[in-house]
């Protein structure tokens, strides 16, 4: 092909970029319906007009973000084939199964979002309320299915290969329920609720900082922030379990996470720091023995952690990748801790003063929590993906051997980046515009959002 360039780095970049964009929309698609459920319940049960308005407006934002998420998700479906044809060709028979199930959830979610939006004027309040439940279930089900596929890449199982490397037998349940799957799936579902909650709450926190401290804004803050504040400490516990799982089952990734050059006990937890190409670690703050202790508290500091010297260089991340993984890990855990502390502040205030914290500092931090949680989400995803390198399917297929041979991938990368930037900018502008219009007290009709009913047809008179 004309202007052919090595496709592997471009394919990786394109996949990383499009996934990084899609993963921001995921928490909104998964968790927003749950927030709307709370608001809608309150609206009917207590005849709360503010809550009703929130549920109605949220459903319209949901429609816009879901429509964009559907597009970025479709692109990913194409990319599995366009960028990683050898991966799909060799392992599609196993890897594809969770995706088939995901398709089912996606279909159900799309239909029920439309039903919910239609239902505002066409259904009785309670039946209408219940149509949120399938959206919530399909959001969680879809997340679990996709993460099951990712867990399978980290911990492939449920298939046998013949001598020529073809998949000959498949056990679908073993493909779906790999040992990594429960931890990873729970971690991602909680992440979706955590990010969705902080992100939505942060918008209302910003509004309150600008002086919009009416009941509507308080409620719009409290509902999602409470959901996030419950998810945050749970996420710390699940994350800790997942890390221990990685210690036991993905030792090469664990060595990268904890920046461990050589196998040994009494391994320190290094905050920040840098791995050099000669295998030494410089910089950062070392907390003696903590990495060993966290890996297995029952044996404490004497726990042995496998270092990078325990693996052949060809099957562990490069030094550069290790530094990326370790930094991403620190960012994720650091931000997760800060967000948990913020949640504790919120919780303590409710417990002792029966109201949310009133200080400006809290609102400033809450307004930043949305961006912070997205950064943590992206960092966590970098840990699992870059930490798996050089494998696409651990111990079976390397990324460089899975990629397409088409030399034109750099062109598609450039095109898709430009389009995504435009789409992302438009999405933000559209949502801002919706919010401004609402502040001007002009309500949007359901027919003005995607999935909504057809507008009343206005006849355009012939000139």
């Amino acid at each position: 092909m004309l202007l052919a360039v090595d496709p592997v780095p471009w394919a990786r970049s394109q996949m990383a970029f499009t996934l990084a964009a899609h993963i921001i929309l995921v928490p909104l698609g998964v968790a927003w319906a749950f927030m709307a459920l709370i608001a809608n319940w309150r609206a009917i049960k207590r005849d709360d007009a503010d809550a009703l308005l929130l549920a109605q407006r949220w459903s319209k934002y949901m429609a816009v973000t879901f429509a964009v998420g559907a597009v970025t998700g479709t692109v990913l479906t194409f990319e599995f084939g366009l960028l990683w044809p050898t991966f799909m060709g060799r392992f599609g028979a196993a890897f594809g199964i969770p995706f088939a199930i995901e398709g089912l959830f996606f279909f159900a979610e799309a239909i029920f979002i439309a039903i919910y939006i239609y239902g505002w004027k066409r259904m009785q309040p309670w039946p209408h309320f219940w149509t949120l439940v399938p959206i919530i279930i399909s959001g969680i089900g879809g997340t679990v299915s996709v993460v099951a596929a990712n867990a399978w890449m980290n911990d492939p199982g449920g298939f046998t290969l013949n001598s020529s490397g073809q998949v000959t037998n498949v056990k679908p349940l073993n493909v779906i329920f790999t040992s990594a799957m429960p931890y990873q799936a729970l971690h991602m579902v909680l992440a979706a609720y955590l990010v969705g909650g902080f992100l939505i709450a942060s918008v209302y926190a910003a509004g309150m900082l600008r002086g919009r401290r009416d009941r509507y804004h308080r409620l719009g803050f409290i509902i999602p922030f409470t959901v996030a504040a419950i998810a945050a400490p749970l996420q710390m516990i699940v994350g800790d379990q997942l890390a221990r799982y990685v210690y036991n089952n993905e030792p090469a990734k664990f060595a990268a996470i904890e920046l461990v050059p050589t196998t040994g006990s009494d391994v320190p937890e290094t905050l920040l720091g840098h791995l050099n190409s000669n295998g030494t670690v410089t910089g950062g703050i070392k907390i003696p023995g903590l990495a060993s202790w966290l890996s297995d508290p029952s044996t404490g500091e004497s726990t042995v952690v496998q270092g990078r010297n325990a693996f052949p260089t060809s099957s562990e991340p490069t030094v550069r990748e290790v530094n990326v993984v370790h930094l991403a890990w620190d960012v994720m855990v650091g931000l997760g801790t800060v967000l948990t502390l913020l949640s504790a502040w919120f919780g303590a205030s409710w417990l002792f003063r029966r109201r949310m914290p009133q200080s400006k500092l809290f609102l400033w931090l809450a307004a930043a929590s949305g961006i912070a949680s997205i950064v943590a989400l992206e960092a966590g995803w970098v840990v699992t993906e870059v930490g798996r390198q050089p494998w696409i399917v651990v111990n079976y297929l390397k990324v460089e051997n899975a990629a397409t041979t088409n030399g034109g991938v750099w062109i598609t990368f450039c095109a898709i980046s430009a389009i995504y930037l435009a789409v992302g900018t438009t999405l933000l502008l559209v949502m801002r515009h919706m919010s401004k219009r609402w502040r001007g007290a002009a309500e949007l009709d359901e027919s003005e959002v995607p999935y909504g009913p057809r507008p009343e047809h206005e006849k355009v008179l012939a000139p």
Partner: protein, 335 residues
């Protein structure tokens, strides 16, 4: 077993062709409706007719891709490697179309709306053309088996691919015009009925002529497919032709109610005829369906998911359709 999954796969392809086809076709009429003033009325009708279950189109496409990569991995590999260019173009077109769907209802300046509309309409032609070219490349045996890459350019620019692309665009326009006629009747706009009726007649004759000319192209360029169409797929071909002619006659004599289902039948039969004609091959003459299929447990999984979808999704779609037909409740139940 592999046969059942192949049928499921083709069910997805046909559903995508019909549902997405009507929407792509609407975009086609939007594009050629003329200047801002003359095109205002047909555009308003097109806008109104773009279905509420638009998202179903994405789902059928994703469904088809997932069934293909799970059930027939190595054919999927070959197709994706060989047809990188048209499939990438189709994916980009889908992004543009999907985004303008997401935004065009909620962007409020006329200029932005017009820009979204133009993107929408242009990609409405690009996507079906590319999909038709992909079908032509597969049907004419230009995609090699065994996860190999065929030629990145000539694989999808051959006569059969051009035929497939042009036929796809024409069939979409034809389908959409019959829908738009019906909508114009429902909205009681007699001059729009005439407007789309004349276009439906042109599109029907055009699509029919392309399909007829296609027979000769296939005879020289895709012999296996031609032989299949002339033998085991012949009843389907005849069915398609009869549906098309009947729908043309009904449109001509202004009996529009039956014209629409017959148009659907004609287009669906073309897609089915393609599948039947290249049977038992997935990639004609190099890879048979039975050889290219995944192990049985994987195929079972696909069939179970398909059955679950039928049980869960159809009633939900029915509920949405019911709500679509039902007018707003009176009183203060909401808002």
């Amino acid at each position: 077993m592999s046969t059942a999954v192949a049928v499921v796969l083709f069910f997805g392809v046909t559903a995508y062709a019909l549902f997405a086809g009507a929407d792509f076709g609407a975009g086609f009429w939007d594009l050629i409706a003329g200047g801002a003033e003359t095109g205002a009325r047909p555009r308003a009708l097109v806008d109104h007719s773009i279905g509420p279950v638009w998202e179903a189109n994405h789902v059928w496409l994703i469904f088809t891709l997932v069934v293909l990569w799970t059930g027939f991995s190595s054919a999927f590999q070959s197709i994706m490697l060989t047809l990188f260019v048209p499939l990438t173009l189709a994916a980009l077109g889908i992004v543009l179309r999907g985004s303008s769907f997401a935004f065009r209802k909620s962007v409020f300046t006329t200029r932005a709306r017009r820009f979204a509309g133009a993107l929408f309409a242009t990609s409405s032609i690009l996507v079906p053309f590319c999909m038709g070219a992909v079908a032509g490349a597969i049907a004419s045996g230009r995609v090699p088996a065994g996860g190999e890459a065929g030629d990145w350019w000539s694989s999808w620019t051959g006569p059969t691919s051009v035929l497939g692309g042009v036929l796809a665009v024409a069939a979409c326009a034809y389908l959409a015009s019959t829908y738009l006629v019906a909508d114009a009747i429902r909205l009681d706009e007699p001059d729009m009925v005439d407007y789309f009726r004349s276009r439906a007649l042109v599109a029907a004759v055009g699509a029919g002529a392309i399909a007829f000319a296609g027979i000769f192209i296939l005879r020289s360029d895709a012999r296996y497919l031609y032989d299949g169409l002339a033998s085991r797929a012949l009843p389907v071909v005849i069915f398609s032709a009869l549906c098309g002619l009947a729908s043309l006659w009904l449109t001509f004599t202004r009996r529009h109610r039956l014209a629409r289902p017959l148009a659907i039948g004609a287009v669906a039969a073309v897609v089915v005829a393609w599948g039947v004609a290249q049977w038992p091959y997935l990639l004609p003459q190099t890879l048979k369906v039975s050889h290219g299929a995944a192990p049985d447990p994987t195929l079972w999984s696909i069939l179970i998911v398909f059955a679950a979808a039928a049980v869960l999704i159809l009633p939900s779609l029915a509920l949405l359709y019911y709500l679509d037909q039902r007018s707003a409740l009176t009183g203060d139940t909401a808002e």
